[in-house]
Symmetry: C2
């Protein structure tokens, strides 16, 4: 690896001159010298040492992407299609802006923050944080932060957040179900925090605004861990007998439930209607094709990254950015049969 110093020596000039050429400071260097240096740079294929540059500049050109791991559905967060698509959008934006991405995955926020500090990252993208985590992070870290899909418990936004209109998405879908005549509609999720809670709220509002009541038994809690999932799905199928439809908090759950139902001889949408949320490949490539709420996950990642980049660049951005949802009507939600 050749250094600026070495180049300067070979060319019989100072390192500053070489450095100036590299940084395009044309006013400081004569055209003739620029030519000499540029030719030589190309000849030896000079590549700067980023560690040295960062040290001198006190910046890093790194965007930290911190994912709080939940020991949950997937052994590794990246295996969640939602996460990988999100990261896909983020990575692309960061790379296009000339930055680098460093991924920090851990369930331990303090560990993540130590690593972020150690690399002196220029900005931070947070996913999967709850309210109190966020507060701790913001105390430790003074550079720009953008959260993704973060609802704080008290509804207070401590930082910029890029999210989705989850509440409305779910509201629209449940409304649509009710329009088709469904009365007993269950809501299925593994928890009721953050995003899932917002969707749940949309579900309840749709019931309420249509004069339908909600009771505890209409919440289907799925246990998605490998060791529980089969038993959990059995339970759900059993409970589903009394229902017209199920609003699932994600496509994955919707498809899993549909498979379990089919294996038991229950037909969707003839016997029961099922809706998903997210509009993933899984639902698109199922038959019957899944009726679901579309969100552009990649776009969410892109938006989060560009917002962060804007903030790093000193631009002002809104504190809350919400992407819209759209209904994708396919084949798993149909009009309720009268005779049921």
């Amino acid at each position: 690896m050749i250094t600026i110093k070495e180049i300067a020596k070979q060319l019989n000039m100072s390192t500053t001159t070489v450095s100036n050429v590299i940084h395009g400071k044309t006013k400081e260097v004569s055209p003739a010298t620029i030519k000499i240096v540029e030719d030589y740079l190309k000849q030896v294929d000079y590549v700067p040492n980023i560690n040295a540059r960062n040290l001198a500049q006190n910046e890093s050109k790194i965007i930290g992407v911190a994912l709080k791991a939940r020991a949950d559905k997937y052994e590794n967060l990246l295996m969640d299609p939602f996460v990988s698509e999100l990261i896909g959008g983020i990575e692309e934006s960061i790379r296009n802006a000339g930055y680098f991405m460093m991924l920090y995955i851990s369930s331990d926020i303090d560990k993540i923050m130590r690593q972020v500090s150690t690399w002196n990252v220029d900005g931070l993208l947070l996913f999967g944080m709850l309210g109190d985590d966020g507060i701790r992070v913001s105390q430790k870290y003074k550079k720009p932060i953008v959260c993704i899909d973060t609802y704080t418990i008290e509804g207070i936004k401590h930082f910029v957040n890029v999210g989705l209109d989850d509440e409305k998405g779910c509201f629209d879908m449940v409304n649509y179900m009710i329009e088709l005549g469904h009365k007993k509609i269950a809501f299925l999720s593994d928890n009721l925090n953050g995003v899932d809670y917002a969707r749940f709220s949309g579900y309840k509002r749709a019931l309420k605004e249509n004069g339908l009541s909600f009771s505890e038994d209409m919440f289907f809690k799925i246990r998605p861990r490998k060791e529980d999932i089969d038993e959990s799905l059995d339970e759900i199928c059993e409970r589903a007998k009394d229902f017209d439809a199920i609003m699932c908090v994600s496509d994955l759950y919707a498809v899993q439930v549909m498979c379990a139902l089919k294996d038991k001889g229950v037909n969707v949408p003839e016997d029961i209607s099922i809706a998903g949320f997210d509009d993933t490949l899984l639902g698109q490539l199922h038959r019957p094709a899944l009726t679901t709420v579309h969100q552009s996950v990649k776009e969410k990642g892109v938006l989060a990254a560009t917002t962060l980049l804007d903030r790093i660049g000193g631009k002002k951005t809104p504190k809350q950015i919400s992407l819209p949802t759209t209904l994708v009507i396919r084949d798993t939600v149909k009009a309720r049969k009268k005779e049921k």
Copy 2:
């Protein structure tokens, strides 16, 4: 961010002493001093500046993961479930070893290599490289390299490669199909390079060893790009009428074909048998559930990363490591009906 220098000043000692404590060089420092320094380090929550450390040490603790992007099925490589699962395994191993992962995604090998040089990464994991790319990379980069799923055209392995017994996996599946009475078996893929070629070879060997002949019209070339996929699937469905079964090079294609067939009223496996490869969620959550060749993608990532880490640590490793495949018999390949 507090520095060693500052700590030394506060504690009235030299930076070397502080540095020695940080690195656990207990022989060089008196127990009393160690205690003082350690307490102070904790108190101020000292975090080292990795840029400075790397510069001084000429190492980086970074593993570069270079993905050669193909402008192909997915707009962004990370959206490919295979890739994200692979990265999931890699990331986990790297993190557990105390290293950091930096992702380089580009279709331009030279650009990737410049970035790898600029960060002075300690080792390189390569995915999606063809033979000639690999040769160029190895000329530019002298630190340990491990390839994933790389078949060189001439069969020469220039570096350590972690792969799969693709040929045998496909051979076994096609053999199984033939045992069930299938005679006209198509092979479906988007190309015949690298991994896909190995699978294709297994397919042809199975035909040959069972006395069946192969002709060009038995190769179904799918065009997976968004703008082509529907037309391509229509063609394939049309051509499929003459066949007993299709061996698909991936689960994704298998499921896509099954959906297209179903939409045209063709039943799997009654009218035609379909097999996939990879054993992804997509096949598991389809009905009928996909018969496929299992590989552990995560394990592949883990193995590649640990092999690279071993090499960085100076250990010797085999030059070629192949993971085994297993047949997953589900519902999309059944005995051929006599009357056809």
